[in-house]
Amino acid sequence: MRFARWIAGIAAGLVLAVPAWAAPPAKDPLASPRWGDMEKIFLAGERYEFDERVKVLAPAQSENPMQVPITVDATALPDVREVMVFADFNPILEILRFYPESASPYLGFRIKLQQSSPVRAAARTGDGVWHLGGVIVNTVGGGCTAPSAGSASTEWQKRLNEVSARSWSEGPMSGRLRLRVIHPMDTGLVAGIPAFHLESLVLKDEAGTPLMRLTLSQPVSENPVFTLHRARSAGNVEVSGRDNNGNTFDVRVAP
């Protein structure tokens, strides 16, 4: 009896002692077996927390693994400086990063998925803390190792980096900007087709004030479409971009 009490005492001491010398690792709400690796690759030495204020919207079941629609909405967080988006089970993990300068921390886009995977967004706020949200997308897969439609035709060569866009300045979508760029976004994982993808996009308003900067990786879908919001809904938007082969473009989107 005395022995049992002694054991219980030690156990209680241990339970109390644990938080004193090490914060338990944050538990991945998506319970991904790859989370440990993701943490090392994207968040080593950083402060982070899982945070429901970072929303990743995607279909639970994706019909087309080459074009999985994703919306990242971190507008519930204050002072977001950078958002990185990655998928645990893609052969190329990072999808894109965006820096919402004077635009909202909100971005719609489409990605390629090689297999079912968590798709996560980590938003860094001004205090240096990363806030993580994510969702699991089920798919038949193969999106990263299937050739782009562009690689099978020469049509895209005539239209490479052609931009179509529209902005909304009134109604419920006031401030919204949608943008589509013609680009094959080849991953480099298909035999005989080298990686060929947009690397950066910069959006400014007509006074030259930065709206948003994006760095894009191979898993962003072919002919990418982006949806974003700016605070001021009037005026032109200047968009410039560059791909990994050094092709550039510079266009103006009229309201």
Binding site: L57, P59, P69, S164, A165, W168, M173, V225, V239
Partner: protein, 312 residues
């Protein structure tokens, strides 16, 4: 004890496999000498084994004409066996209405007879057939065992076709896929519409071109009046004696098209389209929610690209 366990296990395995891969195909006579195997209004799964499609056959004076062969080798074999229960006549011709897997993956069971299709259907089966079959293995599991693609051997043209002493009218249309064949049996006035017409199940759109599909539906509706069609066999869902399923299919396609066009003009993105509520009239339609969401993926990107203006 061990022996008993083994016996039990073997019995369980048999129950799961031997007996259960039976599609229980029962031919429904829709007119004299014209039969339909009516599938469930469900999506492919490991319980229905892909029996979600309507196939049929016509007993002609000198042989049997088969229209579509179902989703698997097993289905084709069981279909052929069920036909044998109705008639001793040999199968004279198999027709594949279009290149979707639930309509041609039973071809293996008919590999000894001519299998015919429109040129573009033949081309589509040759190029996409294996990928489609893989997808059905994933969705229907062991029901698909041993299924392989058999490409149609004979090319059909639009117009009259006489087979085994009976005359048919072949109507070459498109819109559900690149090439969709409707088959009118001139003797019984039964129209096999293929997947241009869905009844009490939301239409599927992975290869759809909606304007062309709507045109095809107008054609079929006109034909029903002109040719005195008595029975309409849709690709999925119950057989009817009127043109109501044509109107319902048209209604769904128009609703999809209008929803996508308006949403693109309003600036919505795909993830927002997924969460739009279905109209009241479609809430109880089988597979309305899932087919709507699939259609967003199939059709919205094209409509959205048109709505975005060129930037300079």
């Amino acid at each position: 004890m061990k022996k008993l366990l083994c016996t039990l296990l073997a019995w369980a395995a048999l129950a799961a496999h031997g007996a259960e891969f039976d599609y229980r195909l029962t031919p429904k006579a829709v007119a004299p000498d014209v039969y339909v195997f009516v599938g469930k209004t469900e999506d492919f799964d490991t319980v229905n084994g892909g029996n979600i499609v309507n196939t049929g056959f016509i007993v002609a004076p000198e042989g049997v004409v088969v229209i579509d062969t179902g989703p698997s080798r097993r289905y084709g074999q069981q279909m052929r066996e069920a036909i044998r229960q109705v008639t001793d006549k040999p199968v004279a011709l198999v027709i594949n209405t279009h290149h979707h897997p639930d309509h041609f993956l039973g071809n293996q069971a008919f590999a000894d007879v001519p299998i015919a299709a429109l040129a573009d259907v033949q081309k589509g089966i040759a190029s996409d057939g294996n990928a489609f079959a893989e997808n059905l293995f994933r969705m229907s599991g062991d029901w698909m065992k041993g299924t392989e693609v058999v490409v149609p051997t004979r090319v059909l043209q639009a117009g009259p076709l006489t087979v085994a002493g009976r005359t048919f009218r072949l109507i070459a249309l498109g819109g559900h896929t690149a090439a969709d064949l409707a088959v009118l049996d001139e003797s019984s006035h039964v129209l096999f519409a293929g997947d241009l017409v869905f009844n009490d199940r939301a239409p599927t759109t992975p290869h759809a071109q909606i304007p062309r599909w709507l045109g095809a539906l107008d054609n079929l509706e006109r034909l029903m009046g002109e040719a005195g069609v008595k029975v309409l066999v849709p690709g999925h869902g119950a057989v009817t004696q009127d043109a109501a399923p044509i109107a319902r299919t048209r209604g769904w396609l128009r609703w999809l098209s209008e929803t996508f066009t308006q949403s693109a003009a309003q600036g919505l993105d795909m993830t927002e389209l997924f969460s739009l509520p279905l109209p009241e009239r479609y809430r109880s339609l089988p597979l309305a929610g899932s087919e709507y969401r699939r259609s967003v993926v199939h059709l919205f990107p094209g409509i959205e690209a048109e709505a975005l203006g060129h930037a300079h």
